[in-house]
């Protein structure tokens, strides 16, 4: 018989261990209390269960259903609609290359191709060491910094194939990586907890990378008669220059 996987989780799902369940329940109640209607907490709770296991498991679906008095079918229907909810185990670092039109044309396609070869994985696949999941993503609202790569949803602006390869090498080697806009990287699970509505408690995370990025200041600097800011500096390990500044 052909194995046709529809990705529908087998039920009944096992529950979390008691201590995990108690901790997540406490978090979930805090999230639910923020909304006039409890079901509004479903998207944050799905982020919360991802922060526990790295993807939305059948146990996570059961947990959300029980917390919100929904059926597991209702929760599954929602979790499968949104692209940020992973349906299988994935890496600590989700590397997303923007291949929507503008970034693709500016080099996103080339970056994505080279990363696939460099890592030996295809779209939505994870390196054997479980470190990096590679995927192509849609427009991430940073077109003035194209081509853009996101790692765990932090911005890596003005990338080149060389800088992107150096970036994933650093991630795999466990070196500290800092985005051009955003905080020093934490793991995918830790990122999911912020998305669930629990502020990043790390010292310096909010102010990391400073104010607006260089491109964001282009008009303001012109208005003031100042010289344009250099485009975003590359990773220390990146060798290529960003797009040239024209005068």
């Amino acid at each position: 018989m052909t194995d046709v996987s529809l990705g529908i989780p087998e039920m009944p799902a096992p529950d979390y261990p008691a201590d995990v369940r108690a901790r997540l329940e406490s978090d979930a109640k805090e999230v639910i209390a923020r909304y006039p209607g409890s079901r509004s907490a479903l998207l944050p709770l799905l982020h919360l269960v991802q922060s526990e296991e790295g993807h939305v498991t059948r146990t996570g679906i059961r947990f959300c259903a029980e917390m919100l008095d929904l059926t597991t079918a209702e929760v599954t229907a929602v979790s499968t609609f949104y692209t940020m909810y992973r349906r299988k185990p994935s890496g600590d670092y989700q590397v997303g290359v923007c291949t929507n039109t503008l970034c693709a044309v500016m080099g996103g396609d080339a970056i994505f191709d080279e990363l696939q070869q460099h890592l030996g994985v295809g779209n939505d696949e994870t390196t054997a060491d479980g470190k990096v999941t590679l995927e192509h993503i849609e427009c991430n609202a940073a077109c003035d910094f194209a081509p853009v790569v996101m790692v765990n949803w932090e911005f890596f602006d003005n990338q080149t194939p060389e800088s992107a390869k150096a970036l994933v090498d650093d991630l795999i080697a466990g070196r500290e990586v800092r985005p051009t806009r955003g905080a020093p990287l934490c793991t995918y699970k830790e990122t999911a907890r912020i998305l669930a509505g629990f502020p990043d408690q790390r010292e310096g995370a909010v102010e990391a990378s400073g104010g607006a990025g260089p491109a964001s200041l282009a008009g303001l600097r012109l208005h003031r008669g100042e010289a344009p800011a250099h485009t975003v500096p590359q990773q220390s390990t990146g060798s290529a220059e960003p797009a040239q500044e024209g005068e």
Partner: protein, 444 residues
């Protein structure tokens, strides 16, 4: 033609202190007159605040350009139901990149605008629906909301006014369609983000079937400046029907991509002239005035005033003022194929014309790009796009049709060339951000 100096053409308001080292903090915001408009608003009757914003002529900055004050006025008062303000921070339209930098650098402008708007429409609970894929912005919103509560700008009895407001920051989970206001409301209610049939409009039955205003980030963030500096000041910029300032986002093959805050009605030629033009040695081929859903323009449209009427009269829409500029190295068929793939991926599946139509558009576009198209395909493309356009609940379908229609209008010959020579005549390597650098080195 003489080039007007940038200081005359630009008008940084929301972006005025983005270069402050800690621009996102409450301290910086207050140093730049932050939360003073709120005091003015509290001294007015709520209905007067609505009337003031309406008189200012502020129009929605999320794409449709609907008058903001009028949206507020539609909220029935004295109905005994809770009212809600939901800020649409789901910025996902390809090319659009203004709200994310605004929130990263100056989140308190939005929060002050939210308090004023809620006071006006008599809402005690507001939500910011931020797309989830921008964690650095989420971090700063969490912090800004925390600061605002601690300083008494949110919570109970704000600044002794007797007005209470709770503000919840809500992270989405990756779905372009949630930028459509009724899909956003379904998503905020914990459902799949699918658009609702209207009427009833959100002003009557929105979040939890209660009266709800859904406004774009930039619209709400513009309100404090209008109250603080006056509606006459606001109307002194732009045109009668499109007054005020706005963020233009320049991207692509331009010398200096970035955010340019200017009075409505500036032209792409003016923006390019002050920003150093296209990248050296290249010329503009096509561009979008307001994201991929707005019909594309060419170098014939450099002098179109970028306001709601001007762009409309030239056959497109101002949209989100996302000026994606592509030079002559770019294959228009490739660009449109990629946008079409995006719409097919993001179609929520509710309406048949959009769900099925975008699927078939992708098949045709991929074939044409790969040199496997036939001459009849162009009419077929037009026909399918026509069967999507205006025939679905929301504007995503119209957005999918726009690049097809407009590219066929201006670049039909390029489509035909793909079909005739059975392949793409362009080299994608020449379009990359680093193409000219490497070429220069090779010739050095």
């Amino acid at each position: 033609m003489t080039v007007e100096p940038a200081e005359k053409l630009l008008a940084p308001v929301l972006s005025a202190f983005w270069d402050d080292p800690r621009s996102w903090t409450l301290e910086t915001y207050r140093r730049h007159d932050g939360y003073r408009a709120l005091t003015k608003a509290f001294a007015m009757a709520p209905d007067d605040v609505i009337a003031y914003v309406k008189d200012s002529g502020l129009r929605g900055r999320g794409g449709a350009g609907f008058p903001t004050g009028m949206k507020w006025q539609f909220i029935p008062q004295g109905d005994g139901k809770p009212h809600y303000l939901v800020v649409n921070a789901d910025e996902s339209e390809p090319g659009t990149c203004k709200d994310i930098p605004l929130l990263f650098a100056n989140p308190h402008a939005l929060i002050e605008g939210i308090v004023i708007a809620c006071y006006a429409i008599r809402s005690n609970h507001a939500f910011i629906y931020l797309r989830g894929e921008t964690v650095p912005v989420l971090r700063r919103l969490h912090e800004a909301v925390r600061e605002a509560y601690a300083a008494g700008y949110l919570g109970a009895d704000i600044q002794g006014s007797g007005f209470d407001l709770e503000l919840t920051v809500h992270a989405g989970a990756g779905a372009y369609i949630c930028g459509e206001e009724t899909a956003l409301l379904d998503s905020l209610e914990g459902r799949r983000g699918q658009p609702r049939l209207r009427p009833p409009f959100p002003a009557v039955e929105g979040l939890y079937a209660c009266p709800t205003v859904v406004n774009n980030v930039e619209s709400i963030a513009s309100v404090p400046a209008i109250l603080q500096r006056g509606k006459e000041w606001f109307k002194s910029m732009g045109s009668e029907k499109s007054p005020g300032f706005t963020l233009y986002s320049l991207s692509g093959h331009v010398a200096r991509p970035g955010q340019y805050e200017a009075p409505l009605g500036i032209t792409l030629r003016q923006l390019l002239d002050m920003g150093g033009g296209m990248r050296p040695g290249h010329r503009l081929k096509f561009w979008t005035p307001g994201g991929s859903s707005t019909p594309m323009f060419t170098d014939e449209h450099l002098d179109v005033p970028l306001d709601y009427e001007g762009v409309g009269a030239a056959g497109s829409m101002l949209g989100t003022k996302a000026l994606q500029c592509f030079d002559e190295t770019t294959c228009v068929v490739r660009a449109v194929t990629r946008w079409t793939e995006f719409y097919a991926h993001e179609s929520c599946g509710k309406c048949t014309p959009c769900r099925e139509g975008t699927y078939w558009l992708v098949q045709l576009m991929r074939d044409i790009e790969a040199g496997k198209g036939s001459p009849g395909d162009l009419d077929k493309l037009n026909d399918i796009a026509d069967n999507i356009n205006g025939k679905s609940f929301c504007a995503l379908g119209d957005g999918a049709a726009a690049p097809i229609f407009s590219s066929l209008k201006y670049f039909r010959a390029e489509y035909e060339e793909h079909i005739e020579r059975k392949g793409c005549p362009f080299d994608p390597a020449r379009s990359t951000a680093w193409a000219d650098k490497y070429r220069t080195e090779a010739h050095a």
